[in-house]
Amino acid sequence: MTVDPDLADRLHDHVAGLRRYALVLTRDRDRAEDLVQECLTKALAAAETWKPGTDLRVWLFRILHNTHVSELRKQRVRQTAALSPPDEAVDTDPARRIELQQVLDALDQLPEAQRRPIVMVAVEGMSYAEAAKALDVPLGTLYSRLGRGREALRRLLDGAGKPRLRLVV
């Protein structure tokens, strides 16, 4: 039996990453945890499709992404997001907390297709090639969605002090 000595460590980091990604996208702790668990359950069922030596993180994010897409299809409507950074984060000053809240709220106004690459790249530090593989889109599409999403975020956040701009997609 060949065992990759880092596998347990890597998988643990990836699960934390899946949870962060699911949290930012759902803004709901229970739904995020459910998504991660469903992803791991599917990964267990499909374990033989993972080839040792290939990118485990991309494989897992792809499963999570597909799980999330099918969940959204079932729900049709995205529920109103609520989760905020926890108040007990004492070392975060109030102005910073407001900024964090604003950026999460702005992200929520973007279409799913733009939110996903933004979160994968910003939160998980994925390369464009990894994010494109995980989302199963061509690299050009990823570039384009990331660019549109970040421009939209900028318009939304710049407009925070002025009359609120409505995002038209």
């Binding site: 962060r20 945890e33 993972w50 926890p86 549109r148 956040l157």
Partner: protein, 274 residues
């Protein structure tokens, strides 16, 4: 790439690719030159960079509370199961695994001493969804991957384990001796060091004459965390006993149904005090 009316311009693409480290040195130098000359591009870049950092920070603040929330034990169990499955899947021909030939030694005296001191007063028999601290999840994963590996379980053999403990003692600023279980019929196989987000953990693997394995995992006890008197948990078929003593957290992990986890823990705790 399809052209849409709202398609971002080339500058946006280049700024994003620069921000995300996707450009080669020449292209990156060209963007840097543009940032010096073009205040509008510089302002746009600053916004992209700030929003990216804010998102990463927001996610980092959301995650610890969620990772400590209810329901994460199931995630930890699934995670451990997946590690096991991914490690063993390529060798589907079966593990060269000796099965139980003799029962585990039962140290009734030690178990009685344990009861007398009330040491496991908080002991609970956890179900498959029992919540366990992070280091215990790590210990379970480490045991499933390495404790049960009969080809190369350890990175440091029994002799080199001395060096591991010398290193651990330096790291903790506190002398830690190699826990011995010969008295319970278990020989030291070797040691592994794992990196986790909470810091290093040391896994010591033992084996009895029947080839049954047990892992003892030691991690630094987080200063803010309450001391754990003694807890029992079962995660799928894996049985765990864990506690804290002085500067360290301990976890005993085994898949052997006969193992006397409390007695072993007692033996280790008594040894740790002397």
């Amino acid at each position: 790439m399809s052209t849409r009316p709202d398609e971002p311009d080339d500058i946006t693409h280049r700024l994003n690719a620069y921000l995300d480290g996707e450009l080669g040195p020449d292209a990156a130098a060209a963007v840097e030159a543009q940032l010096c000359e073009d205040p509008e591009a510089a302002a746009r870049f600053d916004d992209f960079a700030r929003h990216k950092a804010l998102l990463a920070e927001a996610a980092a603040e959301l995650e610890p509370a969620a990772a400590a929330g209810a329901g994460t034990a199931k995630t930890a169990a699934l995670e451990a199961e997946l590690v096991h499955k991914l490690s063993t899947a390529p060798a589907a021909s079966g593990r060269p695994r000796p099965r139980a030939l003799a029962p585990w030694p039962v140290n009734l005296a030690a178990a009685a001493a344990l009861m007398a001191t009330g040491w496991f007063g908080h002991a609970t028999m956890g179900g498959p969804d029992a919540r366990v601290p992070d280091y215990v999840s790590e210990a379970i994963g480490a045991h499933r991957v390495f404790g049960e590996d009969f080809i190369r379980p350890a990175e440091f053999d029994a002799r080199s384990t001395e060096d591991v403990f010398a290193w651990l003692s330096t790291k903790l600023g506190h002398a830690v001796r190699i826990p011995r279980l010969e008295g319970m019929g278990m020989e030291l196989v070797g040691t592994r060091i794992h990196g986790t987000k909470e810091g290093p953990i040391v896994q010591v693997i033992y084996e009895n004459q029947a080839g049954e394995r047990l892992s003892l995992t030691m991690a630094r006890h987080p200063e803010a965390a309450p001391a754990i008197v003694f807890e029992r948990a079962d995660v799928a078929d894996t049985r765990v006993g864990y506690w804290s003593q002085g500067p360290l957290d301990y976890a005993v992990v085994t898949d052997e149904p006969q193992a006397e986890i409390r007695a072993i823990a007692s033996e280790l705790q008594v040894a740790g005090k002397s």
